[in-house]
Amino acid sequence: MSTALDQLFVNLKHWVVSRFPADWQLPVGMLISAGAIIVVFASLFAITVLAERKGLGRIQNRPGPNRVGPFGLLQPLADFLKMLTKENIIPQAADGLIYFLAPTLVILPTLLSFSVLPMGRNMTAVDVDAGLLFFFAVGASVELAVFMAGWASRNKFALLGAMRAIAQMICYELPLILSTVAVVMVAGSLSLSGIVDHQAGYYGGWLARWHVFTPWGLAGFLLFMTAATAESNRAPFDLPEGESEIIAGHLIEYSGFKYALFFMGEYFGMMAVSGLGITLFLGGWRPPFAGLEWVPTYLWFFGKLGVCIAVFIWVRGTLPRLRADQLMNFAWKFMLPLTLINLLGAAAWHYTADWSFLGATPARWLLGATLLGAPYLALSRRLFGGHGIGPRTYRFAT
């Protein structure tokens, strides 16, 4: 029963595909997968936007959208209609073709990157052997779209935003990729399904062997998510569209549906990197504890995705934005060294796996924690203390 439920969508696809002649089966299968990805993530986008608006609202002590439909559930539909019916403005001085292409280009790579994510058992649209590489290669082209938008708008704020976006994305690409190298190293595979399979099994028979439950995995996950936040231009790294300085950066001239596409691109990007983070560190579609295998695997994946998105929203509701040069400093002087050290941590964990004396696990944890904690303290102290940044005391006159 549980496998039937788990493999429901897989079987459904196979059933539909098997209705077609053999020559057609491959393209039809692809079309079905692509259609499923678009439909699922587009509706997820709508839900996320609503959840974000509601969540931010609650964080800020207000109810959030609650007028359209019951509890405001139809708000995404209203937003969609608004975006669709808004006037499409193209600035006279803009480079029309590039201006038009940019929003489409921002959507495509993220949609492509969904295709390699295993979203459940046997639920990878295209199971590429070097899925991780494909993901990053495709994801990097978002930068191009952002720069196209900024350049073609012929607006100074857009240009500043595009410059910021390029600088930020390029310098966070490195820690993003390096933080995944540890996983690749330990799992010995570039295939995302392979990495998920590597996280099968349970520690002590109950806790899943997810990478995040190791010292290097935890550090790697945090580093990865930080870099992913920057990569998807989310707060507190939303400099490219810093609305208080350069208003919306590269989006400043966009309106109507083109703007909606950019918006969608940002959320798709966020979901894609969250999905990757889940796959690499959170066991993909695998349950966290033993005895929970009866829950369909795709529910685990999307549940984890939901949690990740909630954290994104939470962070966005709390933190102020960094400055451009601090962002770079953070990437190059903090994230990059830590990701490199994390490789070491992963290696240490890997090679101490055969320790079997009493208290071996705490000892391994201690080793990992020192290996990562000490550089963390040193680097962050350099990052803040080097500029005399810290809490202060104040004197009073009476």
Binding site: R58, R62, V315
Partner: protein, 224 residues
């Protein structure tokens, strides 16, 4: 400095507390969903001026067209034309009393300078319209509001005003008929306490208990 990152975590905890709190703590979720829920307006609330009348919306207007408010109005939003009778003699009554509430800034100075307690502040605030001259330029008859309405929206203040007017009327009567020195009601003594400009406590005068206590007709105190 302490462990780097603690400040951020402290902030995250605070926002999480507010997130949860907004579901159960009315101190945190203070939003009122306006058209369905309404706050009760405090007694002192004010929006735009109105003209008080007793009994009859036209004849009972307390306004005597003295034009003091027109003169004192800082943004000059009041326009008054005194009424004249058939022979051209001015009457103590406004033929035109226009108040442009798109110019008015609700400063209440007209209320303060009015010696006849005739112009008071309304509390009605749902006035938005697309008709600039039809609905935002209020004429005498739009402005006229009954004393009962005044009692409804500003109970304490209206009671004081009624007591004061009754007192003045009694005085005027006493002056006019020195022989009949005894006013019929115990109103003046109670009202005297309320009359000075220090309403430290809401004074309960008999006049306050019966809202439309029929104070003097508007023009008389000035005539006396």
């Amino acid at each position: 400095m302490n462990l780097p990152g603690t400040g951020i975590i402290k902030g995250m905890v605070e926002t999480a507390r507010n997130f949860v709190g907004s579901y159960h703590d009315p101190e945190r979720l203070t939003t009122i969903e306006y058209p369905e829920e309404r706050l009760t307006q405090p007694e002192n609330a004010r929006s735009f001026p109105m003209l008080i009348f007793d009994d009859d919306p036209v004849k009972g207007l307390r306004c005597v067209a003295c034009k003091i408010c027109e003169k004192e109005c800082p943004p000059q939003c009041i326009y008054i034309v005194q009424d004249r009778d058939e022979r051209g003699k001015p009457r103590k009554f406004p033929r035109i009393f226009d108040l442009d509430i798109s110019v008015c800034m609700s400063c209440q100075i007209c209320v303060e300078v009015c010696p006849f307690d005739s112009i008071k502040m309304n509390t009605e605030f749902e006035l938005s319209t697309d008709d600039r001259f039809g609905r935002l330029l209020l004429h005498r008859d739009d402005l006229a509001k009954s004393n009962e309405y005044y009692h409804q929206i500003h109970a304490t203040e209206a009671a004081e005003v009624d007591a004061r007017l009754a007192d003045e009327k009694a005085k005027a009567e006493a002056k006019a008929k020195p022989a009949a020195a005894k006013p019929a009601s115990p109103v003046p003594t109670a009202a005297k306490a309320a009359a000075p400009a220090q309403p430290a406590a809401p004074v309960k005068s008999p006049a306050a208990d019966k809202p439309a206590a029929k104070p003097a007709s508007p023009a008389e105190p000035a005539a006396a």
